[in-house]
Structures are given as structure tokens and as C-alpha cells.
């Protein structure tokens, strides 16, 4: 669907080859492909998107802080990717089901995650951070690309059930090299499954630049599988929302899968264990600071006279409250008792595991009465 996909990926040039509605300085321009999808978005809704992004950035900063303070084993920051995550996730309907990777903090936020949901997995308390059936979001996925197939299988189920739902999956630019992601596109296309692929091209897969994964713009691959795609400015929340609405409408109308590449940038480290100064130039980061998704929408709202200092202060205070609740939930978590390590391995009794549980229980009992 994007007319401007060029054969050679060039990181610098690439930026100009994306669909956008807001320029980096916040000017609203017309986009013949996308405008119709956000025609209804008024100032109040824009302020809500702005607020979402500010809260998400605050949650993310709190995650980093909690990790630095030894409260989390690891954290995968999403600073810089707020527009992609909020813009796309806010377009998704409540009945749709999402299969994310580990970096989609903004997506579970948009689905109404509880304060502890952001950290439970990273803290090591449970394998999944949240209740998948409650949020209609599968557990965060660490195996690169595996979740894309799950989304396709789910979507096949939706299709067979005749349900008015769509499955959505998120993955990174590095993930597009994985066999599973390519297999997912084949299966989705062959079965015309109602699934939306969202590639967050944040330019780096740990230390590997996107050009190592793809010599061709990533959105350009999907048409080869028979899947229409859009390449959008991932730091433009309106463009992301519009693209996602296009993709969801396409899938919901029974036209099969759709694909979005959101071109964005991971401003922090890959995870809290990573040191990006070893592999990327500070000039690149500076360049991307000029494209900050929150500043962009803020500039737009300010110019339109739709954002007051008072409102901004309120939003910041609300974000602080969310972070405070998240911290309290994190610090307040109690670890389950030792025998819980055996819980949930099987749905039905398994004699081998039951014997081990019994043996370990007997061993633990020898400590009874000890102080």
C-alpha cells in the first residue's frame, strides 16, 4: 500500500519514506492515505493520546529505576517508541487479542494493565506478568518471533468461529529475520487469517542495525507474501493510529492479514543489561531526540492552543501517581511458598512430578520448627 518503498534500505533516507500526519515539528500535514482514518480525532482525543504517552514514559522510567535499585532482574525500555505503541494499541478493539513481545509495555498499559502487571515477570515472581484472559494479551514473549505464529493460529480460530475479532502481533525489526515470522506470514496469507502484524522497527536488535536484518525496507516484504503493508512514521502517534485502523478494518472486513512497519527508535538501551555506547553514535541519538514522539504531539497541541501548562502539570502528576502505584505493587509482592515451583506444570496429575513434589515437601518438612 505504501507507494514509496525503495529497494535499498538506508537508515537516514528511510525516515523520509514513511507515511506521516504530523511532521517532527508538530505541523499537521495532509496524508491522502491516512487522513480519513483519523478524521474523527479531536483535540480532546489528542490530549488523551498525549497523556497516554507521558504516562507510558513515566512507567518505563520507573521500570528502569526499579531495576537499578535491584527490585527487578531486568527491564526492556521502550522510551522513544511511545507513539507506535499507544497509537496502534488505542486503535485495537476490546475483543481483539494481542500477542506481544517483551517490549510492549505501552500495549499492556493501553489494555488496562494493573500496576503489578508491568513488573511481575521481570521481578521473577511469575512466568507471565499478567492474566492473559483478563487483558486479552498473551504473556510477554522472549523467544524472538514465536508469538507471530500464535497470533496467526488464534486468527485462524477467529475465522473458523466467524467472530468479529482480530488477532494482533507485535515484534521487532530483528525478529523479521526469524523463520517463525516468515512462516507466520505464509500461514496468515494462505488461510487469509484476520491478523495484523506490527513491526516496531526501532533500528536496533541489541547491537545489530536494521540493515543487517534487511537490505530492503521491512514493509516491502509483506506484499511478497500477498499481505498489504504500510510503512509509517512510528514517532507520529496519529499516523500509527491511522495505519492501525486501516489494518484492523482490512482484517475485520474478511480481507485477510495486514502489515505495518512503524519506523521508530529505541532511545535507551536494549535492556537494562545493555550498553548502547558500545555500538551506536551519540549523534544518531541526538538526531532522534529531534523526532521525539511526545514533543511532536505537544508542539502540535501547543500551536493549536490546545495544551495549557496547567493541563500538562496535571498530566505529569497523574503519571507520577501511576508510577507510585507501580512501585508500591512491585515492592509489595510476596513470593509464593517453595512448593509453588511445582504448580501449573501440568493441567492434570502427573505421577512423576507428584513424586518429586512429595519428596521435596518431605525434605522441607525436616526444617519445621527451625528458626
Amino acid at each position: 500500500m505504501s507507494p514509496q518503498i525503495t529497494p535499498i534500505a538506508d537508515t537516514a533516507q528511510d525516515l523520509e519514506l514513511t507515511e506521516r500526519i504530523l511532521t517532527p515539528d508538530g505541523t499537521r500535514i495532509s496524508n491522502p492515505q491516512l487522513d480519513a482514518y483519523v478524521a474523527d480525532v479531536d483535540a480532546e482525543q489528542l490530549r488523551a493520546l498525549h497523556r497516554d504517552m507521558i504516562i507510558l514514559r513515566r512507567i518505563d522510567a520507573e521500570g528502569v529505576a526499579l531495576q537499578r535499585q535491584g527490585q527487578l532482574g531486568l527491564w526492556a525500555p521502550c522510551q522513544g517508541q511511545e507513539a507506535t505503541q499507544i497509537g496502534t494499541a488505542r486503535a485495537i478493539a476490546p475483543q481483539d487479542y494481542i500477542f506481544p513481545s517483551y517490549r510492549e509495555t505501552g500495549v499492556i498499559y493501553a489494555r488496562g494493565a494493573a500496576p503489578g502487571d508491568y513488573v511481575r515477570m521481570w521481578r521473577g515472581e511469575e512466568g507471565a506478568g499478567h492474566d492473559p484472559s483478563g487483558l486479552r494479551v498473551a504473556p510477554l514473549q522472549i523467544i524472538i518471533g514465536a508469538q507471530t505464529l500464535h497470533a496467526v493460529g488464534y486468527a485462524l480460530g477467529i475465522k473458523h468461529d466467524g467472530a468479529d475479532e482480530v488477532a494482533v502481533t507485535y515484534f521487532g525489526d530483528g525478529a523479521t529475520s526469524q523463520g517463525d515470522v516468515n512462516e507466520a506470514m505464509i500461514f496468515a496469507s494462505s488461510y487469509q487469517a484476520p491478523v495484523v502484524f506490527v513491526c516496531q522497527n526501532n533500528h536496533w536488535a541489541i547491537s545489530e542495525p536494521v540493515a543487517l536484518q534487511s537490505q530492503y525496507p521491512i514493509a516491502g516484504r509483506a506484499p511478497g507474501f500477498g499481505i498489504p503493508s504500510l510503512r509509517v512514521d512510528g514517532n507520529d502517534v496519529l499516523a500509527c493510529m491511522a495505519a492501525m485502523r486501516w489494518a484492523l478494518a482490512h482484517a475485520r472486513a474478511g480481507k485477510g492479514p495486514a502489515y505495518i512497519e512503524a519506523v521508530t527508535y529505541r532511545m535507551g538501551p536494549h535492556t537494562t543489561a545493555d550498553d548502547p555506547t558500545r555500538y551506536r553514535e551519540s549523534a544518531e541519538l541526538d538526531q532522534w531526540r529531534q523526532r521525539d514522539p511526545i514533543a511532536r504531539l505537544e508542539a502540535h497541541l501547543r500551536a493549536a492552543g490546545e495544551l495549557s501548562d496547567e493541563h500538562l502539570a496535571e498530566t505529569q502528576a497523574a503519571a507520577d501517581d501511576v508510577a507510585r502505584d507501580m512501585r508500591a505493587a512491585c515492592l509489595g509482592m510476596t513470593t509464593r511458598p517453595p512448593l509453588a515451583v511445582f504448580d501449573g506444570v501440568y493441567a492434570e496429575p502427573h505421577t512423576g512430578l507428584e513424586r518429586q513434589r512429595g519428596e521435596y515437601a518431605a525434605y522441607l518438612a525436616t526444617f519445621d520448627g527451625e528458626v
Partner: protein, 336 residues
């Protein structure tokens, strides 16, 4: 009772499971019109349609990963991997996703997926068509592993596997696909022995021969041959490799005091090692000699013309029986 081949019994099992529960869907390569390369799914497309008998693109990880998504949605996918040696591209989805999602979500997501694998050697097949990968899956928590040895068991266990809320790796000995046996197609599933139980196939008093899959037939032949020498061998078909029914195993070992465990798979860190370690832990004081393994060698599966030197045969089993009974054997070199 109906006389059926093991292959037909599996097909009947699938058909019955699909009739019992409309959430059961089949996925695999060539399982539709062709009925699978072994014709196990023959006729199912006609009866249930393409939404339930799903021919897939040629991508094993894709097949299993798609099944995971269907399970998320409340379906009960039954996957056919075309041959044992082709399960490896799906290994990640099986061990990292299928096996773990229930645990990771504390039971909030179930993976009632059955992964059928035409399995093991002895049919003179090409490379990658004769492998015994069961130990990889037995070693993986969260999976159940079943290996069938006869039509009746195949029919019943497959239905039990599909009905189970846990993921099951289901090994079908292709060497036995055409072997016939009596199957009670109408016996209620509820009355059947649970999936995890072993079966004493032949009673005996002098030594216990433990095996599974196609090797059960070889073990029975060994027991018959030994009887001519006045040796009484008890043969146990494990049927389930995860969990292993150690109560039945131990009961037999306490009776005979002597043990041989046999399988086609390579020896190192294999199922036999596990069985013998557990026997030693549980009933060491009943053992009258060191338990022995008879297995495939620790080699890649050899070319078809050489497979007879790899697969445990009647004579290797009997030699091991002689050794656990302290009778003249290949090690002592003496004639009986």
C-alpha cells in the same frame, strides 16, 4: 471387537475424537485429500471438512506455532509431523511454547495439543525417516509422552491424548502401522486404564524386560525363545514415557529381581538410563544383578542397509537376559 491395523486404529481414534468434540482440529502436511503420507487421516477431510482437517504449508514450526494460537482460542489441535526426523524445526515451539505456557500463566492458558509423530526405524527408509527423538521430549517438563505398540492401545491412547488438557507427544511406530489386532471401538473411554499406565504384556518370574513401541514385539519374541530354555521373562510395555509408571515397573522388579531395559533410541541419556536409575533408587535391595540396557548405538541413525546392526534384535535382548541371570553370555564367552 474389530480387527484393525494400527494405522486404521489411529484413524478411527481421530474420527471418534473429532465426533466427540468439535473443537478438535487436525493440522499437518498432506493430511487432507491425500490422507497423510501414511493415510492415517484418510477420509477425515470428507467427513469433517477443510476447517477441521487443515492442510498446512510446509513449515513445522509454523504448524506447531499455529496450533498454539488455536489452543489459546480454545481449540484442541492435533498435529501430524510427517516423519520423526522432521520434528526438529518445530522443536522450539514444542519445548519453549507448548510445554511452558501452562506453567508460565499459572494454568490460565491451556495447551491441549496432541503432536503425532510417525516414529522409529526398521522399515528401510531414507535418511531422517527412522529417528527416535523421544528422550528430548521426555526431558521436557510440561509435556506428556506416549508411545503405542498395538492397535487397541493406539485407538484408546490417541483419544485419551486428545482429550487431555495437557500437551501430548504421541509416538506411532511406523514399523507397526500395518500390524493387525483386535480393537474394541465401542468401549467407553472412561472405562479405559489411564494414559500414564504401563502394561504387563507377558508375565514371568526370572527377569523383567521393559520396553515400548515396536520393540514390544521383539521383547515378546525374546520371551518366547527364552521359555524354550526354561527362563521365564516378564515383559512390560511402558506405553507412557512421561510420566513413567514406576509402580508397575517396581512391582515387577520386586518379583524378578533382574532387569533389562530396551529401546531403539541411542543409549546416552536415553529413556533406559532414566528407568534404570529410578529402579535403582526405588528397589535397589530387590535387585540380584545390575540392570542392563539394550539400545541403539550412539550414532546417527545408519543407512537402511545397516540398520539391522543398530536396532536391538532378539539375540541382543537374549544376550542381555543371560547377563542379568549370570548365565553364559557374550561377555563370559562360554557356551550354554
Amino acid at each position: 471387537m474389530t480387527e484393525l491395523t494400527l494405522g486404521k486404529a489411529l484413524g478411527a481414534g481421530l474420527r471418534q475424537a473429532m465426533r466427540d468434540d468439535d473443537k478438535v482440529v487436525l493440522l499437518g502436511e498432506d493430511i487432507g485429500k491425500l490422507g497423510g503420507v501414511f493415510r492415517i487421516t484418510d477420509g477425515l477431510l470428507d467427513e469433517f471438512g477443510a476447517k477441521r482437517v487443515i492442510d498446512t504449508p510446509l513449515a513445522e514450526s509454523g504448524i506447531v506455532g499455529t496450533a498454539v494460537g488455536l489452543a489459546f482460542r480454545g481449540y484442541r489441535p492435533v498435529v501430524e509431523i510427517q516423519f520423526d526426523g522432521f520434528v526438529y524445526p518445530a522443536f522450539d515451539q514444542i519445548v519453549a511454547q507448548v510445554a511452558k505456557l501452562h506453567y508460565r500463566t499459572q494454568g490460565r492458558v491451556r495447551m491441549p495439543i496432541t503432536i503425532r509423530i510417525p516414529w522409529a526405524g526398521g522399515i528401510g527408509a531414507a535418511e531422517h525417516h527412522s529417528e527416535s527423538p523421544e528422550a528430548y521430549f521426555v526431558h521436557t517438563a510440561g509435556l506428556r509422552v506416549i508411545a503405542v505398540s498395538n492397535p487397541e492401545d493406539a485407538y484408546r491412547s490417541l483419544r485419551q491424548a486428545i482429550a487431555s488438557d495437557d500437551p501430548v507427544i504421541f509416538f506411532e511406530p511406523k514399523r507397526l502401522y500395518h500390524h493387525k489386532g483386535e480393537v474394541d471401538l465401542d468401549a467407553p473411554l472412561a472405562d479405559a486404564p489411564p494414559m500414564g499406565l504401563a502394561r504387563v504384556v507377558r508375565e514371568g518370574t526370572d527377569a523383567t524386560l521393559i520396553t515400548y513401541g515396536a520393540m514390544v514385539s521383539t521383547a515378546l519374541q525374546a520371551a518366547e525363545a527364552a521359555e524354550d530354555d526354561g527362563i521365564s521373562i516378564e515383559v512390560i510395555d511402558l506405553r507412557s514415557l512421561s510420566p513413567i509408571d514406576y509402580d508397575s515397573v517396581a512391582a515387577s522388579v520386586r518379583k524378578t529381581g533382574r532387569v533389562v531395559v530396551a529401546h531403539e533410541a541411542s543409549r546416552e541419556a536415553g529413556v533406559a538410563a532414566e528407568v534404570i536409575a529410578s529402579i535403582t533408587e526405588r528397589c535397589f535391595e530387590y535387585l540380584e544383578s545390575a540392570p542392563l540396557r539394550v539400545t541403539g548405538h550412539d550414532i546417527p541413525y545408519p543407512p537402511a542397509k545397516l540398520e539391522k546392526y543398530h536396532l536391538p534384535d532378539l539375540d541382543r535382548l537374549l544376550d542381555a537376559v543371560d547377563r542379568v541371570l549370570d548365565r553364559p553370555n557374550s561377555l563370559t564367552g562360554a557356551e550354554a
